[in-house]
């Protein structure tokens, strides 16, 4: 530091950000602002004032929620357990059946004429919400949790295939070549070269989907596909805010516990 003189400091200018980069930042800002303006009216954002003019209704809501009624807690808890069980089976099926589809939609493993059709099929599974699938399965297999399991299964098949195949596409190809060089078959290359590399990520994604599925399963009951959603919906519709509040507390606590547990497991898996 002692060798540096005041003159050295004086001669060094702070470089200006290039015009291109500044223009780029402005452009991004303008695009976002444009999107917001474009969506303002269709989304009825002009009604923000109602939040204040109708505050009385809100207060009534809040009063009900502040005194949750846990009289039927055992029923709520039993339904919450069913909700988790729906998520368990939905996740399990989507992972088991998602793995082959994930492999088939990985461009570094399969040829394009397999990858493209499989990917489009998986897109279709993903594009349609669980609730919509639940409505369809309620018609097909009747009311109850099984329809919920099927709804989660089909929707998550698409999600799992995409997440898992992204992991497969990011593998290191060199150990796989080593296996190919021993005369192994294509399937054996996948089993011994690809899957060991992606296992930790797959476990992590699988657990993450389980968390998400428990959350999704809490609303499946609204359309009659089992779980705590049905009770929730009935209580909301009959303006039983105290009971609704109790159910929501149970959902929040359960989801928090499951998220914490699954996070712990994910860290351990990697």
């Amino acid at each position: 530091m002692t060798s540096q003189t005041a003159a050295d400091h004086a001669t060094i200018d702070v470089p200006r950000e290039p015009l291109r980069e500044r223009a780029y930042k402005w452009a991004i800002g303008l695009v976002i602002a444009g999107l917001l303006v474009w969506s303002w009216h269709p989304a009825e954002m002009f009604r923000w004032i109602n939040l204040f003019t109708d505050a009385g209704n809100m207060a009534e809501f809040a009063r009900g929620f502040l005194s949750p009624n846990f009289r039927d807690w055992d029923i709520y808890l039993a339904d919450m357990v069913v909700t988790v069980q729906i998520a368990v089976w939905g996740t399990f099926l989507s992972v088991v059946f998602g793995i082959p589809f994930a492999i088939m939609s990985s461009s570094n493993v399969c040829p394009v004429w397999i990858v493209q059709p499989v990917r489009r099929l998986m897109d279709a599974c993903r594009a349609i919400n669980e609730i919509v699938f639940a409505l369809l399965f309620v018609v097909a297999v009747g009311l109850g949790p099984f329809a919920g399991v099927m709804a989660l299964f089909i929707h998550n098949l698409g999600v799992v295939a995409k997440l898992f195949s992204e992991a497969v596409e990011a593998i290191d190809p060199r150990p796989v070549e080593g296996i190919r060089a021993t005369g192994a078959s294509k399937l054996q290359e996948i089993i011994f070269g690809v899957i060991p590399q992606v296992t930790p990520l797959w476990i992590s994604f699988g657990l993450y989907r389980f968390e998400t599925n428990v959350r999704s399963a809490t609303v499946l009951g609204i359309v009659g596909a089992g779980g705590i959603g049905q009770l929730l919906w009935e209580n909301i519709r009959s303006f039983a805010y105290a009971e609704t509040a109790a159910i929501m507390v149970i959902i929040v606590v359960s989801i928090t516990l499951i998220d914490m547990l699954s996070q712990r497991l994910r860290k351990w898996a990697i």
Binding site: I179, A181, T182, A184, F192, G193, P196
Partner: protein
């Protein structure tokens, strides 16, 4: 008798550049041949073609056969390739092993080409196969590490595990692509000693690409030199004096000598030759 490795008029073009230009080589069974050349001279490309991992140019009539069976011809890998690969061991410069699998499993993978596919897929390896894998690991000196994950091994140990995999394969031809390029001198010597030992005692044909000519001089009687995708020399290693390499490669030749040894001085005395003699019996005793 058929050549162990025969490459005829092989060319490969990547984009606009000719990586291999009409290369023809023939390696007899039981030979240990060094393949030298500066970076980008086509060594790796040639070896990857021989291993059947890359297809050559479709134009021209290049062909590669291993022990008399055609691996690829006219830029097409033959239907036989899977069967042929199982008799060719390949050791890469790095990343030979699947890091998350145990070393033993990595070595057992060598069996996949020679067992029923379904059994292989379910990793139903027999006790005999496991014993053979342990013998192979013992022979290359890393039996202790059998139960560790591949990723926990040092660079030299990984190379040795890959050699053990080739042994389990029952490979008659071993192709090593710069197996010692990223290793320290003592690990490098160990790996080269093991390759030499497999060649002498088991009669396995070894074709090894090397960056530094000293190792070629010490371990291989014959050397093939590549430059810009062409074979510029094929003959006894002794002839590769610094002057001659200078003629072949010009300024590039500096790259071919171990740093620290004074190439310009003319006589780069091959130091490790004595080490070979002393280490080989140790490796033999270990088996």
């Amino acid at each position: 008798m058929a050549c162990a490795v025969s490459v005829e008029k092989l060319s490969k073009t990547f984009g606009g550049t000719r990586a291999l230009d009409n290369v023809s080589i023939a390696v007899e069974p039981g030979e240990m041949v060094a393949l030298i050349g500066a970076s980008g001279s086509g060594k790796s490309t040639l070896l990857r073609h021989i291993a059947g991992l890359v297809e050559a140019d479709k134009t021209g009539d290049g062909a590669i056969s291993i022990l008399g069976r055609t691996m690829q011809a006219n830029g097409r890998i033959t239907a036989d390739a899977r069967a042929i690969r199982s008799s060719v061991g390949v050791v890469f410069q790095q990343f030979n092993l699947v890091g998350r699998l145990k070393v033993l499993t990595n070595v057992l993978i060598g069996n996949l080409g020679n067992m029923p596919r379904l059994k292989g897929c379910l990793s139903l390896f027999t006790g005999e196969q496991k014993k053979a894998a342990m013998r192979a690991l013992h022979r290359v000196g890393i039996a202790q590490q059998a139960m560790q994950r591949g990723s926990t091994l040092s660079g030299g140990q990984q190379q040795r595990a890959a050699i053990a995999r080739s042994l389990v394969q029952g490979a008659r031809v071993l192709i090593a692509d710069e197996p010692i390029a990223s290793l320290d001198p003592s690990s490098a010597r160990k790996v080269m000693d093991i390759l030499g030992d497999l060649n002498r005692r088991d009669g396995i044909t070894v074709l090894v690409s090397l960056h530094q000519v000293e190792y070629a001089l010490n371990y291989c009687r014959r050397t093939i030199a590549l430059r810009n995708g062409q074979v510029v020399y094929d003959g006894p290693s002794e002839a590769l004096t610094p002057e001659f390499l200078g003629e072949l490669y010009g300024a590039e030749s500096e790259e071919l000598f171990l740093p620290g040894l004074d190439a310009a001085a003319g006589k780069a005395e091959p130091k490790p030759r004595r080490a070979v003699a002393s280490l080989a019996p140790a490796a033999a005793a270990a088996y």
